[in-house]
Structures are given as C-alpha cells and as structure tokens.
C-alpha cells in the first residue's frame, strides 16, 4: 500500500471520530485526532491482522492503553471490516457495544478493554512474553499517552520488558504534550523522555507522529535493536487536522456542535 492510501485512511477515520463525538456529545476528540496518523499507518501497512479471523492466534496484537481515545480506533476497525460501519452510530449510546473507553466485549478487533491509565503495557508484556517463550511470530503494539506515563505501573513494565528481551514488543507514545489539566510540562514534566526510555534499556526512535513516511519507516524497522523492546516517541499535536482544536486543552473535553463539526469536516476536505 502507498503512503497516499494511509493518508486517505487517516482522513476517513478523523471524519468518523468527529461525527461520533458530535453525535454522542462525548469528550476526547483531541486525543483521537492526535494519534490518527499513527493508527492509519499501523492498520494500512504494519499490523498482521485479519478481520475475518480476529482471534487468529498468530495475529499481531494492538492495545490502546490510552483507552479514552476509543472513538477513532472503533472507526479504524469498522473501516477495516472488523464490524459494520453502522455500529459507529451507536458510540456511547444506551446499550451500545462501543463505550467511551475502549471495550473488548463483543467488539471484534479490540484485544483489551482499557480506560484507567497504566494498564496496557503490562498486559502487552504478558502477551509478548508468551510469544517469545513459545517462539510465535506475532508482535505486540501498545499505544500510550504522555499523561499516562505518570502512572507507576507503566514504569514497572518498562523495567520488565528489556529484562526479558521482549523485542516483539513496541510501545508508541502519542506525545501531544497536553494532559488533563494543562501541558505535560506544567503538570508533571516527562522530559527528557527519550533518555528515560534509553536508561531503561529500550531502543528508542523519535518521529513526527503526523508524517506518514516517518511513521511507516519506524514501524517497519522493528525491532530497532535485536533483543530490545522498541519505543516510538511520536511527537504529535493534540486535535491535529482541525485548526481550532489543535493544541487546545479544551478539546480534551468539548464535543463539537453542528456548526463546528461542519467546519472541521470542511477543513479536512470532507464536506458533509
């Protein structure tokens, strides 16, 4: 697949996510948009998954540890054929399978339910360890937020993975630098983030998390070093793609009204 196809895919899933949070009057659109390009490349060019066989034992695993970014991953899975696109209309509605925080129950393609932060990487370590010890070919990808790295449980897992040489494990940090109450710098500074992972013996690559060529190059070069887990620190922009949402803390919470949705879709070149 060409980079062009993942660019189109990123547009499509951004549009879905915007419509979903508008319809549901839900939060967290900023975090969905910041990782849209990462997900688009992952699901276009990288992950070995099969919508017809979501439980295929040797499939690659993707865990969304930042579970509040659920809207856009549901959009990805629907577009890839794991479940009908119509399901997206039920996002956050009464009785829906699609909760505001990602939920695996009855949703093909979702490996793990998350929502409370700091849970995905330890689970990913367990999956990677099983694969490693049994010589299975699958890889495990875990998407983390930056604010999530405040959780100590992540650092337990960050210690664990290199000790067990889990080079089938890839962490991706959606480093949009805004968390719940303000910037990461203001709330709890992570810098120097790459140095921290290096000190914990991970192989680190920093990229522009919106540049599809850089994303694809990184994701197709894993493991960066044999015997080491890989981490991609993806510098991103919260709310990316919609000018009035970009880098705005408020869009961690707000839901676009009809007028704002129209404007957002127009900016994406999707007039509807």
């Amino acid at each position: 697949m060409s980079t062009e196809s993942s660019v189109d895919f990123a547009l499509a899933i951004r549009a879905h996510a915007l419509r979903m949070v508008h319809r549901a009057n839900a939060s967290h659109i900023g975090t969905s948009l910041s990782m849209a390009d990462l997900l688009a490349v992952l699901y276009s060019h990288v992950l070995r998954v099969d919508p017809a066989r979501p439980d295929w034992p040797d499939r690659d695993r993707f865990i969304l540890s930042k579970g509040h970014g659920a809207a856009i991953i549901y959009a990805v899975l629907a577009e890839r054929g794991f479940f009908p696109v119509e399901w997206l209309d039920t996002y956050c509605q009464d009785g829906s399978k699609l909760a505001g925080h990602i939920t695996a129950h009855g949703v093909p393609g979702v490996e793990v339910s998350t929502g409370s932060l700091g849970h995905g990487l330890p689970i990913g370590c367990g999956m990677a360890l099983a694969g490693k010890r049994e010589g299975r070919p699958y890889r495990v990808f875990v998407m983390l937020s930056d604010g999530e790295l405040d959780e100590g449980s992540n650092w337990e897992a960050i210690l664990f993975a290199p000790h067990h040489q889990l080079d089938n494990l890839v962490a991706i940090v959606d480093y949009n630098k805004i968390q719940s109450f303000g910037t990461v710098k203001e709330v709890l500074e992570l810098s120097p983030l790459a140095d921290k992972w290096r000190a914990f013996r991970w192989a680190v690559r920093e990229i522009d998390g919106h540049d599809h060529k850089q994303i694809e190059s990184a994701l197709t070069s894993i493991p960066f070093e044999p015997g080491k887990p890989s981490v991609i620190i993806a510098h991103t922009v919260k709310g990316k793609g919609v000018s009035f949402m970009e880098n705005q803390l408020a869009w961690h919470y707000k839901s676009p009204n009809a007028e704002q949705l129209k404007q957002a879709l127009a900016e994406l070149g999707l007039n509807k």
């Binding site: 034992p57 695996a104 490996e111 793990v112 339910s113 998350t114 929502g115 409370s116 700091g118 849970h119 990487l121 330890p122 689970i123 990913g124 370590c125 367990g126 999956m127 990677a128 360890l129 099983a130 694969g131 010890r133 100590g152 449980s153 337990e156 897992a157 210690l159 664990f160 000790h163 067990h164």
Partner: protein, 308 residues
Amino acid sequence: MRTAFIDTLCELAEQDERIWLLTGDLGYSILERFANRFPSRYVNVGVAEQNMTGVAAGLALCGKVVFTYSIANFPTLRCLEQIRNDVCYHNLNVKVVAVGGGLAYGAQGMTHHATEDLAIMRALPNMTVIAPGDPVETRLATRAIVNRPGPCYLRLGKAGEPVVHQTPPAFTIGKAITVREGSSVTLISTGGMLHNALQAAELLAQERIQARVLSMHTLKPLDNESVLAAALETSTIVTIEEHSLIGGLGSAVSETLSKGMPKGIRFRSLGMPDRFADIGSQECSRRSYRLTPQGISSAVQDMLSHRC
C-alpha cells in the same frame, strides 16, 4: 498450606502446559521446586505487583492458566485495579494466590495482616473466592481452580497448619464440607479457622451441645443450600473467620440468611472488629478475638443461654 499448594501445582503443571506461575519476588525456598522444573513457565517479575497482574492478564489472553503469588495483601490490594479491570472484566484464567491470609504474619505488623482481602475479592464480579481449611483442602482447591475457567482468589495460611481431614473429602467449589454432624448449633468456618472450630465443637460436646461444623472453603459462590439447611436444622449459626467482620464469611452468610431466614434463628459472626490488629503472634491475636477453641465455645454457650 503453601507447601501443599506448590507441590500440587507442580503435579498439575506436569500434565497441563497452560499453567504458569508468577511471583512478586516472594516465596523463597518454596517456589524453587516449580521454577526448577518449569523454567519456561515461571517468572519472578520483581517487586511489582501491578505489572505482575497485568502480565498475568496478557498471558491468560494467550491461553495460559496463570497463578500470581505473593504474601498478605500484596497480590490483591496492591494491584486491585489490575485484578478488577484486566483480570475480572475480561474473565481471565488468572488465579491470585495469597500466602499468610489473616494474621499468619501477625508480629510483622499491620502491612502484613491480610484481613480485608476476602471482602474486597468477594465484591469483584466473575471472581471465585476460596480459603481452604487445611493442607488437604489446599491440595483439592488447587486442583479444582485449574479446572474452573475464570478468575479465582486462593487465600492460604502459611506453614504448619494442622491436618484436619484424615482422608480426602469430596471437594466441590461452592459446596461446604460437613466436617462434623450436630443438631444444636452450626459452626461455619473459613480458611485455617477450621481446626479451631472443630476443637470448639469438641469442647461444646463436653457441655452436651452437639455442634455441626461446616468448612466453608468457598466464600463465593457461597453454598446457600448448606447455610439454609443448617439454619433450619440447628437453628443457631456461628461464623468463624480470621478476617474483618465487614464483608467476609459472616457478611456472606448473613446475606444468605436475610434472603431466606427461617423464623427464630440465632446468628452471630466471630472475627475481627473494624480496626487494625495489634502487633502480636497469630495465637495471641486469636485469643483477643475469641477465635480460639475456648473463645468460640464460650461465645456459643453465651448465645445458647441468651446472654448475648
């Protein structure tokens, strides 16, 4: 009990390649027998219970039956949300094992007293909660939980608990074991209180009070049938647990009785009041909570003579 557990787990792991064992760097001189025989299915994750439980969930999602092991509250309360979200919500084959349930580590201080664990584990959906009464029940319970899909909490004592069952009883999860027949009162114990309950029954027999003794090794699902039968047939019920009086065996039995309580039933729960235990040996603490054979026996006699 811990030796009975690990020996049984080794026997099971010989036959069942799904079985893994994770520890949070505790179990020195006990777990080596598993680690040496099954190194590819053993991980000492280090002193990191949250990660241990998450790793267990990840392994279970790949088809393994995973035991997590540590002492006192470390494998439960330290990583409670991982148990709730990662293990119970996904209904995974993770078996949480705590050694030193109750006050087995009494002199080590409050941090090592596991005295609210049953209440907290019992409240989690999908969780089965088991506290075997002696080393024989420990062996049977370990076998039973491997064959029961889904999460389980296995609360063990420590070492040197007396063997109560001279021959292995029939063991079914969710079904109490009648250890002694009796018609005037029923003593229901859980975990390592079984031995004291039985001794209390002997003391009561000397007073011509015939006590039935039930080993309620499974707190969840509770054997409602045996509880209600005991209420009907003996009219007086006393629960005995080395645990807070909030949320454990006494609460579970009273929940059952409140739904189907026949009239004129007397009920009392023996256990620990709602405060942290003093520092002291298990024996000393049991005396202060009336959890010794004498304490249980006198509490029953008080009840039967309407003095409480």
